[in-house]
């Protein structure tokens, strides 16, 4: 891991006009952090704390009210080819075959057809989808669809991947396999990633660092470096007894357990 900063948020604040009335809603306030080259950083926090907003800012889909995001030291002013994102929904186009879906981004960016097809076939082979390349998305299982979506994200060869709960819609066993595929791929390809997740174990087993966000208006309240081996193999890392210590610490920082306790005390 080098010290080159790939992705940086500098004092980012985002306000939205409230749907009801004229008030402004502050989604995130004064968020600053950076992700170094080849690093995988997870962002955890309660629902509605503005995690996805940060991701939209990083991908250039939304402009922050204050502050700025930087990719490779360049201020993000709109979508750019160095960043690709992946969501919980696979967003595969039903009228395209799996291979055509994988080349979707490359096609939009007008990469030469032969090159992008070759690249897609390589990625599909890597994700064990080669034999399904001419199938349509509805013929695939949820896990396979999500792998195809990951292949599509990688097919544009981005420097930075923004992942918004990419595996939260698949079953637990498939999720573990997908996590391993992701970790291995990122390691091999030397990619940098920001991962949003609700799954604390996922955050610990996949990341180099975990950032904890507060309730809305979201700000970063803690940063925990995960000092465990096997970042390229979350299944191996999962068996490390220290994982539960990290998870306990994250739970504590998120106030999981405390709130319920407070509420019960309040009622009593």
């Amino acid at each position: 891991m080098s010290d080159v900063v790939r992705l940086e948020y500098r004092n980012v604040t985002m306000r939205f006009a409230e749907r009801t009335g004229q008030g402004m809603l502050t989604a995130v306030r004064g968020v600053s952090f950076s992700v170094r080259d080849r690093e995988l950083v997870s962002l955890i926090g309660p629902s509605g704390c503005g995690k996805s907003t940060l991701l939209n800012i990083g991908s250039g889909l939304a402009a922050p009210s204050e502050g700025a995001a930087f990719v490779d030291r360049e201020q993000v002013a709109g979508p750019n080819a160095h960043v690709a994102f992946m969501l919980q929904k696979d967003l595969l186009l039903p009228w395209r075959t799996v291979a055509e879906n994988v080349t979707f981004g490359a096609e939009i960016q007008r990469q030469p057809p032969a090159e992008r097809r070759q690249r897609a076939q390589r990625l599909l082979a890597k994700f064990n989808l080669a034999e399904f390349s001419d199938h349509y998305p509805h013929q695939l299982s949820g896990g396979m669809r999500q792998r195809a979506a990951l292949a599509r994200t990688l097919a544009v060869d981005p420097h930075v991947l923004l992942l918004d709960e990419p595996f939260s819609a698949v079953d637990a066993q498939t999720r573990m396999v997908l996590q391993r595929d992701l970790a291995l791929t990122l390691q091999e390809a030397g990619k940098t990633a920001l991962l949003i997740t609700h799954d604390l174990i996922e955050a610990v087993t996949l990341s180099d660092r975990v950032l904890v966000m507060s309730k809305r208006p979201g700000s970063i309240i803690d940063e925990i470096a995960i000092e465990l081996p096997h970042r390229d193999d979350p299944i191996a890392r999962r068996q490390d007894p220290k994982v539960s210590d990290y998870v306990a610490r994250l739970m504590d920082r998120l106030g999981i357990g405390h709130d319920e306790l407070e509420a019960m005390r309040g009622e009593a």
Binding site: G60, L61, A81, V83, K89, Y136
Partner: protein, 265 residues
Amino acid sequence: MNGAARPSSVQKGTATSVILLVVFLAAWQWGPGLLGVPPYIVPSLSMVAREFVHDWQVSHLLLHTGVTAGEVLAGFVLGSLLGAFVGYVLGMSPTAELALSPYILALQIAPKVAFAPLFILWMGFTVYPKILVAILIVFFPVMVNVLTAIRGVDPDLINLARAFKATRAQIFWKIEFPASLPPMFAGLRIGSTLAVVGVVVGELVGGNVGLGYLLSFGEGQANTPMVFVSIVMLTVVGGIAYLAVIIVERRVLHYLPARSFGGNI
């Protein structure tokens, strides 16, 4: 999987359909006589068949059918193109939709066939008023379905394309347009049958050619079999139009799971 059960249920359905057809034709042939219904009310099947042959040989049935089919085709194609075009424009421009929606709604509520006499006043006893009524009547189901489809595209899909730096044109051709096709075909199916309604009303109101004309001519002559022949031919024209849409739909939407088309044609 009910792979084994399905063909048998299809076979059962087909067999029942054929039996129903035979029963219906038999009832048509002998029912009126048995019930004492006079032929000028309900002519028997064989009388209608004889009339068909006579109309074919003497009354230019093929010509009338051809003219009606041509008007249906022209009205359907132009109405669909116009409906799709307006649907896309309104779908992509919320301002235009807001500005135009009251007028579109008013025009949609107005019974389109009522415009037929007006169009004939404007354009005379030509094929154009008939085509115009068909255009007007086909326009709405296509436009509404396309508009709804464009509105219904998952914003995350658009964002995905935008994150890949897609241009507005790329978003349209690679996402919005293909996403609008299944609902558009649903609109086209409805439109294909409505086009026949529009044309036949136009022909009933004025003119001297087409199945609608033959229909009203038969009525004037108290020639009930000719009325029946006209109705049958109109049904054939509508059926062919509908089937044509289905065939194109299956080719274009080949990627959809088979069940999306349902058992009904």
